[in-house]
Symmetry: C2
Subunit: 322 residues, 2 copies
């Protein structure tokens, strides 16, 4: 792997990253399928599973697992690996619920998501509302298993209380009024307004960045690192999170709906402020590259020796085509 070094830090080639993520995604998909039960009453389970399974790039779970591997630094700990898997799934549930609610008629009124009819189109608005609500609760349920004495058989059910509390703290903050929900409120209020760059950055820091950053920090919370390393990972998460949104804005004008799996050109049609409308396409693309540079610099500063998958994920975020 050491043939891929960018800005002095080790990373993975796209093929290596695919191999790395394929392995992790197998675990994540299996865990999500087990934990999002079809047995929830009155069709709720079906709506929840439809919202979560078989779709999406799973960037947030991969960030959790990559950060966990970075802070583990090669030292095995099954309990903390299991905690990271729960955290990876919890973060994805929050992301999935936000998409369900965001697609509803009173919000973006979108009918297509990941190439499929949106949840409210398929199951009705009331069930979509409830499925989103239940997915948010389930995220916190996943993070707080009842601890039994650890045996080889129940590793996945055990997370130390301290880690449970930290994971809930990070996730609740990132999802709430001073995170994702707050960013969506700004988004809602900003349609048709000319935001300046600072206001646009603030909106995206909350709306998308908070949960992406939290993914990194939740992975980091499944390990013991210094405050200095923690700070570097925060810088990585913030730069990568903002880069994600800048690239999203770019793709909204450069990609088509089939490639995206959702309606392209929608931001412009809805007169929503974006980095492209603010900076123009070329400067938005440059800005994404600059943020990638910042993210990689933060990893370099962290001194972490096993941060190659985090580095490669930041590159994937910026170079993605969908």
């Amino acid at each position: 792997m050491d043939s891929f070094v960018i800005q002095g830090i080790q990373t993975l080639s796209p093929a290596e990253l695919n191999a790395w993520s394929d392995k992790r995604l197998e675990l994540v998909e299996e865990a999500l399928s087990n934990w999002v039960s079809p047995d929830a009453p009155a069709g709720l389970g079906q709506a929840m599973r439809y919202a979560v399974l078989d779709g999406g790039k799973r960037l947030r779970p991969l960030l959790v697992l990559a950060a966990r591997e970075a802070v583990a630094n090669g030292v095995q700990d099954k309990t903390l690996d299991a905690a990271a898997l729960r955290a990876a799934c919890a973060v994805e549930l929050i992301h999935a619920y936000s998409l369900v609610h965001d697609d509803m008629p009173c919000m973006d009124n979108d009918v297509l998501r990941r190439g499929k009819p949106t949840v409210h189109v398929h199951f009705g608005e009331a069930q979509a509302l409830l499925a989103g609500d239940a997915l948010q609760a389930l995220a916190f349920e996943l993070l707080t298993p009842e601890n039994q004495p650890t045996t080889s058989a129940n590793t996945l059910s055990h997370i130390p209380d301290e880690v449970q509390a930290r994971l809930c703290r990070l996730l609740a903050k990132a999802a709430g009024f001073n995170g994702m929900a707050g960013g969506q409120a700004i988004d809602l209020a900003s349609v048709g307004l000319a935001l300046n760059e600072q206001q646009l950055r603030e909106m995206h820091r909350l709306k998308t960045g908070a949960l992406l950053s939290a993914s990194v920090m939740m992975g980091a919370a499944c390990g013991n690192i210094s405050a200095q390393t923690w700070g570097c990972l925060e810088r990585y998460g913030q730069a990568m999170g903002l880069a994600f949104q800048v690239v999203d804005d770019v793709l909204d004008v450069t990609a088509d709906s089939v490639t995206l799996g959702k309606t392209a050109g929608k931001d412009a049609a809805n007169d929503k402020p974006t980095y492209v409308s603010l900076l123009g396409l070329a400067r938005a693309q440059e800005y994404a590259e600059q943020l990638l540079h910042e993210a990689l610099k933060a990893l370099e500063d962290s001194g972490l020796k096993s941060a190659h998958s985090l580095a490669a994920l930041a590159q994937r975020v910026v170079n993605r085509k969908t």
Copy 2:
């Protein structure tokens, strides 16, 4: 207080209960007003505060605090008292969010709540959706403060990790697919259907009972009690929670909208199954009395010496007129 003894357990007179709850509600209202910040962006804070403040009977927070006092048994512990106050507020946030979402046009489409226009009427549907989402996240944020070394100045910010994890576990489960959200899905699917008593009980056990029971158990989690006492409090919570719903069904046909602060007669108009439609009014009223008896018996069996406010709250639940 020992002049009020029912079924061999000490309780409070209605006047004593009012005095007891007035004191606790002052703390709860102040804490809610502090924690539900008006500073959430783009009007979200106003919508959240509108949904939470100055309204409601606050039954769930009172149950949390009464259960905490019952398990404390007169022994002071500021840390655990503070944890119980956070739990009391968290449970109320979950209740408030569920009302906001439940009132939305795609659910019950109600325009009146606690005598005021509902959140979506006042702030629009999108903001109501987000406010509900943000209130759920905030509940878990309240339960997971970052622990600093305890000093007299920061007692309210400290909850032991183990207690944080237990509180999140209880709340997430009660709010989610196998609790409140699941019950609402059954409710949604049951309109116009003839449920039998067992199905009706299951719906209400999840929809209303789970969060009421969780209130009791979260209060109990702020203390150390035996598994046997824990089981008795669970029995109390379940009987009281079901009684609450039976009385709700009775009031829907016996009270008027002004007294209730919400639209009366709505269940019948919507062809929703209720205890009154199933059992008739007289037998539904008898059933509520029987459940009160069961709740008080469970308290007696618990052997707790300071359960008088829990006893009085169960009586209030059954004897309430609104």
